[in-house]
Symmetry: C2
Subunit: 348 residues, 2 copies
Amino acid sequence: MDQTIKIAIDAMGGDYAPDSVIEGASSFVSQYKDVELHFFGDSSRIEPLIDKYSNLRKFAIVHHTESFVSNVEKAGNALRSGRDSSMRLAINSVKEGLTDAVVSAGNTGALMAMSKFVFKTIANVSRPAIAAMIPKFGKDCVMLDLGANSECTSKNLLDFAKMGEVYVEAALDIENPRIGLLNIGAEQIKGNEVVKEADEIFRDTKFRGRYVGFVEGDVIIGDSVDVIVVDGFAGNISLKTAEGIAKLFGSWMKESFKKSFFRKLVAFFARNAIKELKYKADPDRRNGALFLGLKHICIKSHGGADAQAFSHALSSCRKLVKQDIISKLSKALESQVPELETAIETLA
Amino acid sequence: MDQTIKIAIDAMGGDYAPDSVIEGASSFVSQYKDVELHFFGDSSRIEPLIDKYSNLRKFAIVHHTESFVSNVEKAGNALRSGRDSSMRLAINSVKEGLTDAVVSAGNTGALMAMSKFVFKTIANVSRPAIAAMIPKFGKDCVMLDLGANSECTSKNLLDFAKMGEVYVEAALDIENPRIGLLNIGAEQIKGNEVVKEADEIFRDTKFRGRYVGFVEGDVIIGDSVDVIVVDGFAGNISLKTAEGIAKLFGSWMKESFKKSFFRKLVAFFARNAIKELKYKADPDRRNGALFLGLKHICIKSHGGADAQAFSHALSSCRKLVKQDIISKLSKALESQVPELETAIETLA
């Protein structure tokens, strides 16, 4: 028989918590029965919601907590004074073996600080990164780092590449992933010192898949890479720009199809096409960024996630646990040190 | 009477040169009559095209050149060995006073190297930047640097902000522009050292408009800034990502509306709405990036620009000449040095 996947949920994290969290969990268990959900938070608010979404009852265990981390709390503060918070206790439950992984839609900085402090990083990983799925032509791809490290070394970027490979294999069932290094202009003497150095190291590294070289920001219109490696500063800006453009288009489209009665009528007949388009672009389907490089699985849901989006974060968490991604990551990073040394020697 | 605007055109630059260049110029002169166009390139290829687009004849002066800069040529090489190229001679004509500004759809690196070498930078400008219009909710805004400098100091970013203000005022008639500094996360202790330092300097600087603080990549969905300042590495990646997402949406939309006869029919009735949407998103309308910080106007058209897009680059060039943007830039940068020193003293 299959194992039961135990997920710790910070029920108080996110703009619409705990409501959207509980509703999302209810939608999640209507799809998957091999799960046990541990909710951390204010039981007087959680219990009535579980009564409301009653299909959840037999999958749910509630752990009452007195406090939670607010969205404006600084990471350092949260780490020091949030020891009894729903976020921290959910994280602790993974470390203690009560659960397999943690999901939170709360404060990103606090979640990163706490999970890094409690879980620690995998051996040979210099810095954890935030990784997420982004749309491209064909299958999605994974992009990292999306904001955990605003300054990166070439060694950091190499770790990101190795971890990204394992992630995309486990999450999207892609074999021999193609890795691209994000840069300005594909011909190269361009770019900053870090990416130029990383490019040389990548060329001398044996990956599970293969390194395809520099790629530009518009790489997503083709189908040439599965893993996009970038420092957390440019990566975050690029991701947010993409989100912004997507929303801008959505609002333009709405505006345009509401201008007259005739256009509204047309929109009615175009509803299936529009729906399909929305589905393809839908960020909710891709909700759930992974903190990659920690010794346990920690998934960050978008703070503004609604129930459906939160349910997607849970599904992606379940899949990563089933795929035993942490063992795979450890193995992939294990073999790295001698290679890196060879590469650096070659460069020297 | 109004002055005649004299534009030097590198007729051999771009993927579809000289055809799209000449056709674009023809479309341009059908709108504006106060212009004189100096074409630099292979006259045996240019002349027949001017015969074809015959409305162009009375506005056109052809300067035959023996060579041109290819798209794959490295900037340094082009600078050394491209002295007789169409690009270089077009640039020279501005320096010599024969023309007021230059437009090329050719090799970006070569164009930047040559124009910087021939024109020199405006006093007090540390580094020129590439600036372009990008869509947002409401009026467009200007974003810079888009790739001229892959590593920037806070002083570079300050120059970009000051130049961006003048540009957006002249190009979009925006008064008291709002300046944002692109960063990850709007609350701040975040970001790399350069943007944190720049933020402090910006706060102590008297701008023509005003500094609104850090903004995130999704700033384009609101209407909170007119100038977005960013280093050339993150800026280029962000711009290319936006282009990629826009193209991805376009191709999804096409795919979706071609799936069945019924959908094609719907698309036919939705054609006005779709056209409107395309117009709003159209990068062609925004074609023509300005090399900001040089003593003369140099405009880079997209390499893949078609005639319509190239004509937009010419229109934007004409407007900048009429607005006398270079004098305005020099004046804005003149007053900068004492302020910057005060700001740096305050920091120390």
